[in-house]
Structure formats: structure tokens, C-alpha cells
């Protein structure tokens, strides 16, 4: 069923009775061409692009909870392509282009809003590092502008420029960046995949991966065994457990990242703004809530809830950067489980098991990657070869040292990225 303004008006006149389920509730079939483990943003977009781009529709997405219940539903909704290193640069550039056509492609309003992402810097050294990053973006064909403090003041007047511990030296503006309605992204891809025949199976937990002679044969689930020619793992937050079912040990440690939303307030925040001297980034939703976040809680955790010291640190950063939001009240905070990889960059690769694929390690950057990750993963699954924009997301880079993508320059310690 197509969505449109006309349809909304028609249903409004006739009591909304015509709206159909956005996806079916199929029972699992005995066998599929491809099983995707994980019905989050990346899993759903993988299913969508497998069907749409590669014509593979005999696909099941197995989700242990509800669709979109993982990190796609608990993030700060930021979309950007402002990475500094080869590998990430071309990947996020591709992903941003998919974002820009997403609503028309999916016929679903995911409210991708390109109101800009502004990274502030606070020293000459940071300015040079951001200039380098901005130039990487421009080399990639994406947009980046280096703003002076005066230009920042125009873009973000709520910042304290006068009584501040770390003065504003300027900012790197990425105008094509912005935010999107996170749940809608999951729902839009789910609907698109379902319409193309993909079985989205909720409350179906994978409990084992069947491998015979080095070849994947299917999975064991809470709803019985399901056979498959190919199995694709895409379960950020549980990657180590699911990959462990196939005997793999990943360069990943799981960490909590918190996010916060305030009570609804009249809009004051134009786009996304991030602080350079303490982890803090903020935007304002179309409902009026300030949506913001900070750094990891820093210790390995699967608890999906945040601890107090990091909450306070985030509020501390907010108060030094923009004390004009001090009277906003935090309404709700939550935590997602991040796959923190050893260089802070993701993995989209084949595995040693034939027919078994791995997509993980998105750290805290998974949301903006949803379209690109699904597209590139679908390509890998369908064609058996890396999709060019994601060709560097290889698992063996840690062992060989070739093509590491340590954007933060903090090394192999998982929680420092």
C-alpha cells in the first residue's frame, strides 16, 4: 500500500479503516536462501537491499525481540559523513547519499533533516586536525566548511563565547549532515522489505548456527531449526555472542552509550552541535526535545542502562558550552550497547565459514550507517565480494595492521574510540 498525503486525507475522511499492517507476521519457513540474524536497522536495510537491488527475496530476518528494538531505536539520530580516514570516508559518503533519497525510495517519511552538523574546536591543533578531516570530506565530494568563531556565533548563538573554560576557535560545518526519525528508519526498511516478500520474524531468537564441513547450513532458533544457504550476522550489541555460536572470537568489547532527551521546548538548536573538549553533542527534535549524548560509560556492559558519573559529565559539558540550556530538564535517559571494535571502525566481511557473513563493530556510529551498511552487506551476501565503499571493513586488518581506521588515534583499547 502506497503512502501519500492524498491517502492520509482519504483515510481521515473514512475513519482510518483502510490502513493495512505495515508488515506481516509470517511463521518461519523451513528454508531460506538467506537468513539475516538481527532485525535492527542494519538487518532490515540489508534485507531491503537484498530484495530491491539484488532480487533476492527468499529471505528471513530473525529478531529475538521486536523490530528496531536495538540501537536503531536508542540513539541520538545523527546522520553525517564527516570521517577523516580512507575506508570510513567513502563508506559514509555513500551512506549519506542513500539517506538523501531514502524517503522517496522507501515511500516512508523518515524525516531526514539536513540542518547541518557543526563540530567545534578549541585550539590551533584541533583546528588543523578538523581542517584535515574537512579536506578528506571535500576530497570525497562531500561538503565541509571551516568556520571562524564569528561564523560559529551566527550559526549557534546559544553557545557561551565569553565566559568559557575552553574558548571556541571555530567549527567544522557539514551542512548535509543532520538528524532523522530513528524508529521510522527501521519501520520504513521493514515495510519495504516485507512488501518485497522478505519474512520478518519477531520474537525468534537464534540459539545456534549450524555448520557442516566448514559450510553454513542454517540456524537453530526459539521457533525451531531453519535451514539457509547463507546466514548473515548483524546483531550489534550481541555480536560476540552470536559470532561465538560459529566459533568466532571478535575484536569487540561491548559498552554502554547513553543518550538523553529533555522536555519539549520551543526550538533553539538549529542543527547538531558537538563540543570538542569533552564528549557532548546535541540537537533538537521536531517535537522540541533536546536530544544529546556524550561518551561511553567506559566499562564493558550489556546492561543497556547508564550510570550516574557519565550523566553528570554530559551535563557538565552542556553547562560549560551552552549554559542557556541549563533550565531544560532531562526527561529520559537510556543506554544502548555498542560493539566497540579495536580501531573504532566497523567490520563487514565474510568469515572462515562458507556462507556465513559478519557485520559488526559499529561502535557508536551505527545509526548513520544504516543505509550504507545494509547496501554494502547485501552486495557482499549476494555477490560474494566486497562492495567498493565498504571494501576496507575487513576483519583481518587487526592481525595484519593493513588498513586500520583509528579515527581517534587512541589505539587498540576498545573503549577509547
Amino acid at each position: 500500500m502506497g503512502y501519500s498525503g492524498f491517502k492520509v486525507i482519504k483515510e481521515g475522511l473514512f475513519g482510518q479503516k483502510g490502513w493495512k499492517p505495515v508488515w506481516r507476521n509470517p511463521d518461519p519457513k523451513p528454508e531460506y536462501d538467506v537468513i539475516i540474524i538481527g532485525g535492527g536497522g542494519h538487518g532490515l536495510s540489508t534485507a531491503y537491499y537484498l530484495a530491491k537491488e539484488y532480487g533476492i527475496t527468499n529471505v528471513a530476518v530473525l529478531e529475538k525481540g521486536y523490530l528496531g528494538g536495538g540501537n536503531v531505536g536508542r540513539n541520538t539520530t545523527i546522520v553525517r559523513a564527516n570521517y577523516g580516514l580512507p575506508g570510513n570516508s567513502e563508506f559514509y559518503s555513500h551512506s549519506l547519499k542513500l539517506w538523501e533519497g531514502m524517503e522517496q525510495d522507501l515511500n516512508y517519511n523518515t524525516m531526514m533533516s539536513q540542518r547541518g552538523v557543526l563540530n567545534l574546536f578549541h585550539s590551533d591543533g584541533q583546528r588543523d586536525a578538523f581542517a584535515r578531516r574537512g579536506n578528506t570530506m571535500r576530497n570525497q565530494g562531500d561538503d565541509a566548511e571551516l568556520l571562524t568563531p564569528e561564523q560559529v556565533r551566527v550559526e549557534a548563538p546559544m553557545i557561551d563565547f565569553d565566559n568559557v573554560r575552553f574558548p571556541i576557535y571555530g567549527g567544522l560545518m557539514h551542512r548535509r549532515g543532520g538528524t532523522a526519525r530513528h524508529d521510522a528508519v527501521a519501520w520504513g526498511y521493514a515495510r519495504g522489505a516485507d512488501q518485497r516478500g522478505v519474512d520478518l520474524i519477531q520474537n525468534c531468537e537464534v540459539t545456534g548456527i549450524d555448520i557442516e564441513g566448514g559450510v553454513v547450513r542454517g540456524v537453530q532458533t526459539s521457533r525451531g531449526a531453519i535451514r539457509a544457504k547463507k546466514v548473515a550476522i548483524v546483531v550489534a550489541g550481541r555480536s560476540s555472542q552470536v559470532a561465538g555460536m560459529a566459533g568466532m572470537r571478535l575484536p569487540i568489547e561491548s559498552h554502554v552509550l547513553q543518550a538523553f532527551v529533555s522536555e519539549g521546548l520551543k526550538p533553539i538548536m538549529p542543527g547538531v552541535i558537538s563540543f570538542g573538549m569533552g564528549h557532548f553533542y546535541i540537537s533538537q527534535s521536531d517535537k522540541g526535545g533536546l536530544v544529546f549524548g556524550g561518551d561511553l560509560d567506559f566499562y564493558a556492559s550489556y546492561a543497556a542502562r547508564g550510570n550516574l558519573p557519565m550523566k553528570e559529565h554530559v551535563m557538565d559539558a552542556a553547562m560549560t558550552l551552552m549554559p542557556s540550556i541549563g533550565k531544560a530538564r532531562v526527561l529520559r535517559s537510556w543506554g544502548g550497547i555498542m560493539d566497540m571494535s579495536s580501531d573504532g571502525s566497523p567490520i563487514i566481511d565474510k568469515t572462515q565459514t562458507e556462507g556465513l557473513f559478519l557485520n559488526c563493530g559499529w561502535c557508536y556510529g551505527g545509526f548513520k550507517a544504516v543505509p550504507g551498511s545494509g547496501f554494502s552487506y547485501a552486495h557482499l551476501i549476494a555477490k560474494g565480494e566486497h562492495h567498493a565503499p565498504a571494501a576496507r571493513f575487513r576483519l583481518d586488518r587487526f592481525r595484519t595492521g593493513t588498513g586500520l581506521m583509528d579515527e581517534e588515534g587512541t589505539g587498540s583499547q576498545h573503549n577509547l574510540h
Binding site: 555472542q241 561465538g244 571478535l250 569487540i252 564493558a300 556492559s301 546492561a303 592481525r399 573503549n415
Partner: protein, 87 residues
């Protein structure tokens, strides 16, 4: 969160720096193979449940400690000095 420093007693999480899993105590020999070093530096069991990990009582006595705790419930089961621990 509060952690039991073997030297100082129970202290707030704010006093500690976190490094990672206690596997880092088992440093391979310099000539160990690439796989052993890859496992040491990068790969982790990353359990959802009981784990042993390394914390530094940075704002306290300066001890590195190995904490046994649960990554799902955050229950803390004990701590020993890294100096005396075998992973």
C-alpha cells in the same frame, strides 16, 4: 557503581579508570605467533555475564586491580590486585 579496591576499600566508580578484560595480564612472548598477539591485543570473549576486568584506582592509591563482576547485572563479586593476579 562502586568497586572494592583491595587497598582502599569500596570506592565510587569515579575514582577508577577502566582498561579492558583481564586477558591483558597474559602478555604473549615476544616471538609468539601473530594469532597469539592478535588475540592478546584485539580479540575478546566479551561475555554477557561474569567477567574479570582491569581497573586502575587512578584517583586513589594507584593500584591496578582485577575486578570480577557481571556485565549484565553490574553485580561486583570481588577484586584483587593485578600485581598478585593471574588471569
Amino acid at each position: 557503581m562502586r568497586l572494592p579496591c583491595p587497598i582502599c576499600g569500596e570506592r565510587d566508580r569515579r575514582e577508577f579508570y577502566y582498561q579492558g578484560h583481564a586477558t591483558l595480564l597474559d602478555r604473549p612472548a615476544a616471538d609468539a605467533d601473530a594469532g597469539a598477539w592478535d588475540d592478546y591485543v584485539h580479540n575478546r570473549d566479551n561475555p554477557a555475564g561474569e567477567t574479570r576486568d582491569l581497573w586502575h584506582h587512578e584517583a586513589g592509591c594507584g593500584a591496578w586491580i582485577v575486578v570480577t563482576r557481571n556485565t549484565v547485572t553490574h553485580e561486583v563479586l570481588g577484586a584483587v590486585l593485578a600485581e598478585k593476579a593471574k588471569s
